[in-house]
Symmetry: C2
Subunit: 354 residues, 2 copies
């Protein structure tokens, strides 16, 4: 995988995909440059997840993490779970502009999908957590989300015999199998399994010329031509770098409210004003609304705004359509998740508080 | 199944299970009266659900209803689904005293389990809906729950091509395949599949003398002896009649607040003051807290209160323990549910409102 767009390749690509009439693209010969370029910019979602070397209990961690992910009792009200905002049935997000958490409070940023989050450079819109393990602490203890605390979560889980047993199994090699560290490790293990392989785009990346139809190929060519792939590349077609939202123009306040300065809030440099991690575009057609503000409900709207403010390009209706066709080819197989039965509380368990 | 306790049988049972020392109960001969009595009072959960005769699209209705059940976009905020309060992972209930619905509002009654609800005489604590079809309308349109309306739900679903297709398939024989009637029919079809067969008690009811251990058998004998089965009988060990909460004594205000008069609120006769449908005791060890008020967190507390206010009996610690052991034998196989992928909204879809 190459992390920069090579101008020469783009020129070759344009020759093949834009100058040549679209219907000629179905010929294998003409497609080769497009596929080669795509293969240099993007990688397919792997078919299986990478297991940490030497972790003999990783399957147990995944199973335990799955229970934790679906357990609303980890929240102060007993009503909010990881799954509330990262809904497996809704592309790993929640279909709202901003999520609803503890006592009906709303957050300020759109819930990013948990799917394929393993492949991101960091977690959260501002990348303030380096990985899924660090990320797991945020929503649990966030006042707008699950509104609990490290000791509360540990106390609750320690009071549930069914959980104690599972922690003992998954962390048999640890001195303290049930603690806030192992809770987050288990959550991260489960979340790392939530990948969506076998999108039609993945089949194309693996060499199947016919996986994408002509419109999707034209959309891919345009995606590269416009330089969308500058920020949206790699396995996740995004999620691997930080970029200003508004490179060429300031977006409308609706899309980029002044109340959220992105990475500047955690790094406090002028350069980081309105800088966010580029989101993954995997399964993007399932995860409206878009942007950190969750303010664009339609993919055509999102691509139009991005072309305008990031690239100073005004898309034609045909171009919007082609880009959306390509983006829809990024929808992979959704995770196959059987809902777990959660272990019942005990006489010692704290009760929900709301 | 016999819906009244026959005094003669109880006397025989007492002779077999109470007068005879508990350890003698393991002999098949001594057990026969207990099993016979149990078989006359209760029925096992069937292994498969009954399909409506002549409905050639019932499987399609079940699949569609499953999507609807898990879809939070049916609520006004896009945040509350049927599953929010009837959580498959939490015994079909939500583990709170009262549920949290639209904008963080709480209801007044404990969320009853959706599991085995098909076998109940009616739905809701006060039985105000005759069946699951009627019930489905309540939470969708309730201001404290999903806070939407018939036209809103129909409008939303009609805007989603993926749903329109599924309604066309599941209700191919209807003039209007997508309407508030068919929405509720599909939900009821899915919910009717949420049964929990093969509890150890079911194996006992089917003739396996060894399915229950000695303590569970003593608990069952006590359950019958005390006349708990007057209100908790049949397939669901409850859920098949209406009874005053406080037959012999008024329960503490904590358990029976004056603000909730039960069926009197819908029927307005003096006789129906504090009258509720007896809840099913199936999977009861998974669905704390208990009572319509969700005010008893422990099974020992619940059985103690019930014996006191319904029967004017003071349970010993040993009796509490035996009853709880029996009640735990009512936990069946939990439904095996793979989370569905919900169809994405379209450009025409209304957006969540909160």
């Amino acid at each position: 995988m190459t992390h920069v767009i090579r101008p020469v390749l783009v020129i070759i690509l344009l020759f093949a995909c834009v100058v040549i009439p679209p219907n000629a693209l179905s010929a294998n010969k003409a497609e080769q440059p497009l596929m080669t370029t795509a293969q240099q910019l993007f990688d397919p979602i792997p078919l299986t997840i990478p297991y940490p070397e030497g972790d003999f209990y990783f399957d147990e961690k995944i199973e335990l993490g799955k229970l934790l992910f679906f357990d609303p009792r980890l929240s102060q009200s007993g009503n909010v779970s990881c799954h509330s905002c990262h809904n497996i049935s809704l592309g790993g997000a929640d279909g709202r502009s901003t999520s609803i958490g503890h006592q009906g409070r709303t957050g300020i940023r759109n819930s990013p999908t948990v799917f394929n989050s393993l492949f991101q450079i960091a977690q959260f819109w501002d990348g303030r957590s380096r990985n899924l393990f660090e990320q797991a602490a945020g929503p649990m203890t966030g006042e707008l989300e699950m509104a609990t605390s490290d000791p509360q979560v540990c106390h609750l889980l320690s009071s549930v015999p069914g959980y104690v047993e599972l922690f003992d199994e998954a962390f048999a090699d640890r001195e303290n199998p049930l603690c806030f560290t192992t809770i987050r490790e288990a959550l991260a293990a489960f979340e790392s399994t939530l990948i969506t392989p076998n999108a039609t785009f993945d089949h194309f990346l693996r060499g199947d010329c016919n996986a994408l139809n002509d419109k999707e190929k034209q959309g891919l060519a345009l995606f590269v031509e416009l330089a969308c792939a500058t920020c949206h590349m790699g396995i996740n077609v995004g999620g691997n770098g930080y970029y200003k939202f508004g490179v060429k123009k300031s977006p409308a306040l609706k899309y980029r409210p002044v109340s959220d300065r992105g990475r500047q809030e955690i790094i406090t440099t002028v350069e980081d004003d309105y800088v966010f991690k580029s989101p993954s575009l995997r399964n993007v057609s399932l995860t409206a609304p878009y942007f950190h503000s969750g303010s664009a409900w339609l993919l055509t709207e999102a691509v139009t705004v991005m072309a305008d403010v990031q690239l100073d390009k005004q898309l034609t209706l045909e171009q919007q359509h082609l880009l959306v066709q390509f983006l829809k080819s990024l929808t992979g197989e959704q995770p196959h998740i059987v809902l777990p039965a959660l272990p019942p509380l005990s006489t010692l368990s704290p009760r929900p508080n709301s």
